[in-house]
Symmetry: C2
Subunit: 508 residues, 2 copies
């Protein structure tokens, strides 16, 4: 920090402490999900609530507002654009924090916690009616929140759009509808073709836990895992988390009956972590400046999906790793590398989003996006949700859920009033595919590079072209900057068609 | 909390938050020593420093002082004695915090961190002269601290005594000299007899890491380990730590060439944890009241030593576990249960405190206690430390360190200016032995109970007689309450003689 900018320095110190507190929460979250004994949960909840209160105060206090205002006033026309961008991002977040009524914030926190608890029981009993009142209340509070937040938005935004901003800055309903329309038009017929050709993964042999652990470790080793800066643990649900500027954690789990789950989850979470590790540093960057943060959940997901789907599920990768899997097992239960590849790419539409394959996954999102709009902006009564869900599942995926437990009660998001998040998952697939096309134009086909074990070249390209952008651009701007084209579903659909051809053509 | 005591309630809320912050530090410490990647250390240091600053503020602020004063004023003569005791303990700690000059506190923090760094290098090079100036400065600052703290002491105390209070409340030099005199008189001749009889453990077979892990898990299982409230991990140095009122952690390590190290460390740390788990709860107790805390480091150590030395190193225990060890190994490299027991009890005086056996351990402490007094109160120049160390090692243990690295530079304590702590280790041995005598009078011999696998009876007795006392009494009062006698070295010396007889008599 230059000493000629005392207000900026003071702001820097404030943000540094805020980051320290935020990262303490991350460390506790990691502990909670990896080693904390179950009975520790209540006290851990209090610890996290205390930190959340401290964080909220630091991010919305009058003292902080004065620090931001002073740094803005100090900014002269010759200031580097990064500095300007940082202050813009801080100002936007500050304005959002400050236009929320504290009473609403705590009412929401209570409703979320209650919603989660009621949902757990309602899902177990597949009893949507039991959950409906909690959902109605959450929708009411979120609409109220969106109304309060609208005042801070730099442009006119609908309630759903306001709520989606923290996950996908500058996203609009219209743009999403445009991006998703080709998916809705082209994926269902593709799914039918797959069903006809019965292309899908064969049954996979189960792998001993020790072997799954060892293969995951070898995968990370070959992808540049550095034990001095990274840690991998076990948890009930895989996640990636950054605990400090040089402290990156990922977790995986071994799922009985799903022999590739831990291996693919490792690839996925490592993709998230690589992005975090590659975010820009230096004076105006993370930690603690916003410019060095991930720019959107869609971009974050594109990085994890790149390593999971484009690399680890590729044919070349399966061919390279097939001997290792067989060596570890002392047998080849797949009967050859091609069948092994197919087990990495099961293509079977199913009812559950988190188990969906690449072909049907985005349709699960299209469904949820539609229903969120209906609930939040089109006055659809919550009672109509199960019926609408079933009808649209039939139309999009050709399936009808036998119960709400595997239908509209399957996800935790709405149970906590989380609206506006789902589309980022689909954007991740689209962004990954479009970035992959640009990468292939510049350094050659991913299949070819993976065949030669050149994953380091993929990493180097992403590390030069994608990760350093941080929050200097939003998700769509990032895609345009990296690929020279506006984001579209075309590369994703082209990739799927080509993959399908490979999988089913050879299998015929 | 009764609603008739609003000041007490306000104080309770304050202390509750203080405990939350303190336990967040514990969770970070656990993470740091079990899974944190090395490069995370700098950021973790900042996180811990931030929490330490917040904690210090909460424990010394004017606002807190007012809360304590208000609760004192509210206390009526009919208040339960526990409440009165809590306020006394809080008042004493508050007065101590508040009579320290903040400039001294930060000077000490810097000197400790510098001292530790210089010591690391000086020890590696066995270069005492390089460490001497840092030690001299630490002594100067600690004497200054003792002078400031003296004002808060309820009775007249010497500088060393003032510094020892946080570890061993109410301890005095005179009392320690009295307790240690029999050790200094009787242990050296015992050590000579052992050397003559060459009683000592035979060489132990090394045990595979997996087997050591399994045996440690079985040990905990048989001693009531509850995975819902406890967690065991690996760390470089074994420790025990309480993260929340229902969240207890211990760590162990596997040391190559020391096949029983992990097993005995597990017993030791579990002893610490059992004490923490058994501390009293309820309105006036932990969390967050001081009355429910451990009363002294000596008592804490007595509980870990009880399970390590009185139980796990007992002959009956060795006889019970010998078959399991042999089964795990598929062989009996010890050639019988008696030799197996002897490997649990090597009796060889050595230069290093942390590797010392039960017979010589307390003499290492006698030496350090003497030298601390010389440095802090008798104007001994730091330059004379290595010479005095060598001479007294010769007199007490019959050994001369070939270098300062394995002499006066071996411990980290003085490198961080930690004076007054060492005696608690020796008190732990004395207290454990005296409590064991009382236990045997009431429920029968430990050997007999262990032979029948009745460790639960030992736990129940400690859980009824020792752990619930919390801080209602100090260490010596606890011993007198539990055993009906003032603390003395007699039970410890009697125990050693009897053990020695068993070990060497049979071996003859």
């Amino acid at each position: 920090m230059p000493t000629a900018a005392p207000a900026l320095e003071a702001l820097h110190r404030h943000l540094h402490t805020t980051r320290l507190l935020g990262s303490i929460s991350s460390a506790l979250y990691y502990d909670q999900n990896t080693v904390m004994p179950a009975a520790g949960a209540a006290w851990r909840g209090e610890q996290l609530a205390l930190l959340a209160t401290q964080l909220h105060e630091r991010q919305s206090s009058e003292a902080y507002a004065e620090l931001v205002a002073a740094a803005e006033a100090e900014l002269d026309p010759s200031a580097p654009p990064e500095r300007r961008r940082n202050l813009e991002l801080l100002r936007l977040e500050l304005n959002r924090q400050r236009c929320l009524d504290p009473a609403l914030v705590s009412a929401l926190a209570r409703a979320q916690s209650r919603g989660n608890a009621i949902w757990q029981e309602a899902r177990a009993a597949s009893d949507f009616a039991a959950f409906a009142p909690a959902l109605r209340e959450l929708i009411r509070l979120r609409r109220e929140q969106a109304a309060q937040l609208a005042a801070a938005e730099p442009v006119e935004r609908s309630p759903w759009e306001v709520l989606a901003q923290p996950f996908e800055p500058d996203i609009s309903k219209a743009r999403l509808a445009e991006l998703f329309a080709p998916l809705e038009a082209e994926l269902p017929p593709l799914l039918e073709r797959v069903a006809d050709a019965s292309a899908g993964g064969g049954a996979a042999a189960d792998l001993p836990e020790g072997l799954q652990e060892q293969l995951a470790a070898e995968l990370l080793e070959s992808w540049g895992y550095d034990g001095r800066r990274c840690q991998r643990s076990r948890s009930a649900h895989p996640f990636s988390c950054t605990v400090g500027p040089d402290d990156f954690r990922i977790t995986t789990r071994v799922v009985s009956g799903q022999p590739l789950s831990a291996f693919l989850a490792t690839a996925h979470e490592w993709g998230h972590s690589l992005y975090e590790q590659g975010l820009p540093r230096g004076d105006d960057h993370w930690f603690p400046w916003p410019l060095g943060e991930a720019t959107s959940m869609g971009v974050h997901e594109s990085q994890s999906l790149f390593w999971e789907c484009r690399v680890a599920r590729s044919r070349a990768f399966a061919e390279r790793w097939h001997p290792r899997f067989c060596r570890g097992l002392g047998a080849d239960p797949w009967d050859g590398a091609f069948a092994f590849w197919r087990t990495f790419n099961p293509l079977r539409p199913g009812l559950i989003r988190v188990e969906a394959d690449e072909l049907s996954y985005t349709l699960h999102i299209v469904l949820r996006f539609e229903l969120e709009l209906a609930l939040l902006e089109q006055e659809m009564p919550v009672e109509e949700l199960p019926g609408r869900w079933k009808r649209r599942m039939q139309e999009l995926l050709g399936l009808e859920p036998p119960s709400d437990a595997v239908g509209c009660l399957q996800d935790i998001h709405w149970a906590e009033g989380l609206f506006g998040y789902f589309p980022s998952y689909a954007l991740g697939h689209l962004i990954s595919a479009q970035i992959a096309e640009a990468l292939e134009r510049e350094i050659g086909s991913i299949e070819g590079l993976v065949r030669e074990g050149q994953e380091a070249a993929l990493q180097a390209w992403l590390g030069a072209n994608v990760w350093p952008l941080g929050r200097s651009v939003n998700g769509e701007e990032l895609v345009e900057r990296v690929t020279g084209q506006p984001l579209s579903a075309r590369p994703f659909l082209a990739y799927l068609r080509s993959k399908l051809e490979g999988l089913s053509g050879m299998a015929a």
